[in-house]
């Protein structure tokens, strides 16, 4: 068993443990409060503010990051439970160079945001959604008679449904769909 309880230490340390995460390719070993969620590790411990806190309860999607390639709400992930995971945030998409990821470029070209607060989550979520569709994951709007296991073509209805976990109060939705279409074409 992988116990994180250190019996001989005082009560203050029983509730903190070491965890190792790779974030945007870089390993980080941190001693975290068990209560700390990935979102707060990124923002408080690593000064990565791309993932946003919009609701802190999995109800808005602004905190979306990729964990081992899958899009997740980082506000609901206890960091201690992610030991050994690979995390990619919006800051990790464009690499070290000046070049933007094509989806970031498409968001600029399409004016797919206004206030920008939901934007990193939208971008990470869209990348996850594109990968899911090509892996054959259906959505609520996929025709039930479509052959299972085959990649699902992403039309606008599919994009909208798959990105519905990312709220945007500025109402940039149609432009976001445009931007996602740009990179899948």
């Amino acid at each position: 068993m992988d116990s994180h309880q250190h019996q001989d230490e005082g009560p203050a340390t029983r509730h903190r443990s070491e965890t190792t995460l790779r974030v945007n390719g870089k390993p980080h070993t941190l001693t975290v409060d068990h209560r700390r969620v990935l979102l707060d590790v990124l923002r408080e411990d690593l000064d990565l503010f791309g993932a946003k806190k919009g609701c802190d309860h999995g109800q808005c999607g602004a905190c979306t990051v990729l964990v081992d390639g899958r899009r997740l709400n980082s506000c609901l992930l206890l960091a201690i439970a992610l030991d050994g995971c690979e995390v990619t945030t919006v800051e990790g998409l464009s690499g070290d160079g000046e070049d933007l990821h094509p989806l970031q470029r498409a968001f600029l070209d399409r004016d797919a945001f206004q206030c920008g607060y939901c934007t990193p989550g939208q971008i990470c979520s869209a990348l996850g959604a594109i990968a899911e569709a090509s892996a054959g994951h259906p959505s609520h709007v996929t025709d039930p008679t479509a052959p299972s296991g085959e990649p699902v073509p992403l039309d606008r209805d599919e994009i909208r449904e798959r990105l519905s976990g990312n709220l945007c109060r500025c109402g940039a939705y149609p432009r976001i769909v445009d931007a996602v279409e740009d990179v899948i074409e």
Partner: protein, 330 residues
């Protein structure tokens, strides 16, 4: 959120032992509901036993034609699984009708069954709620309850179970497999969740310390035409106002099997046994469907502001029944 111990279990035995050794422990799966409730102060575990990495993350086709879905299989993988999509489509559809892509990537099969009601009085620790704090009263019965139960509620609790997935499992005669101190056992999914009665704090039949290890979809419902339909306040990413899962077989102009479960109407997925009984052996006509569904819903006791759920559920059920039997009726 108060502090807690954290233990990651590598086997079922370790998990059960760790749980037993720590009063006030909770099992951690995907965490989508548990962490949410911990932040609200509704759940205050002294320890979390992390079972998300137990080797229960596979979907197995069993020799008898049934399908076992491991408890830690993520909802998105369950919904995408070919066997589920091809043979028990209502389950795939139900999962995809719930939550968001991100949440489905995190949420597990077991955790989805164990999620708690979204009743706003339950979620607010400053308000009375018999489910959260037995004896404190029910804020919803005379309060804001448009989303609450119309069937099987009690004076103590009018909450609904929020899961879409569980509704499909109930309709498809799935069984929930459990592991605990007394060994392994299983329960029908339709009987896994309870009605509130005078103990609304108890959501399910699970025993303290027991772990859901998986759910099994039986061969009997494999390939039976099935579907799930849900109505909600916005087009996506919203809990059901009402939903229905239906699996219905028709042979030679007669209903040979009928399984119907409603969601968001009660404290558990509401298996419509009375409707099923009268449909069996009947011709799959609109009149027969109406008779059956009305018979089932005649038990409804709507609250002041949620009577709409009865015609809504009725419409959903009739629509899905008609759709699934359309080919057989022409």
């Amino acid at each position: 959120m108060k502090t807690f111990d954290y233990v990651r279990a590598d086997s079922l035995e370790e998990a059960a032992d760790a749980f037993a050794a720590r009063p006030g422990a909770r099992y951690l799966g995907g965490g989508t509901n548990l962490v949410d409730l911990m932040k609200l102060g509704v759940e205050r575990p002294a320890a979390l036993v992390d079972i998300s990495r137990l080797p229960l993350d596979t979907v197995e086709e069993l020799p008898d034609g049934s399908l076992r879905i491991g408890a830690t299989v993520r909802n998105s993988d369950l919904a995408a699984h070919r066997a589920v999509r091809d043979r028990w489509p209502a389950l795939s559809q139900a999962v995809l009708a719930g939550a968001s892509g991100q949440l489905r990537n995190a949420a597990t099969t077991g955790g989805n069954l164990l999620q708690r009601t979204r009743c706003p009085y339950f979620q607010d620790v400053a308000k009375p709620c018999n489910k959260r704090e037995p004896g404190s009263g029910c804020g919803a019965r005379d309060g804001v309850h448009r989303d609450h139960a119309v069937l099987g509620h009690s004076a103590h609790c009018v909450a609904t179970h929020p899961s879409d997935m569980a509704v499909a499992l109930a309709a498809l005669d799935a069984r929930v497999e459990l592991y605990g101190a007394d060994g392994a056992r299983s329960l029908p999914a339709a009987e896994f969740h309870r009605l509130p009665g005078d103990r609304p704090e108890v959501d399910t039949e699970i025993r303290p310390g027991e772990i859901i290890t998986g759910v099994v979809l039986p061969a009997a419902t494999a390939g039976v035409p099935s579907a799930y339909r849900k109505a909600r306040d916005r087009a996506s990413y919203a809990f059901a106002l009402a939903s229905v899962a239906v699996a219905v077989g028709v042979d030679d102009g007669v209903v040979t099997s009928a399984r119907i479960a409603f969601g968001a109407l009660a404290h558990r997925p509401w298996r419509a046994r009375r409707a099923e009984e009268v449909l069996l052996g009947a011709a799959p006509t609109e009149a027969a469907f109406e008779h059956a569904v009305d018979l089932e819903l005649s038990a409804a006791e709507p609250l002041r502001d949620n009577a709409y759920k009865v015609p809504l559920a009725r419409g959903l059920a009739l629509d899905v029944l008609a759709r699934l039997t359309a080919a057989a009726r022409t």
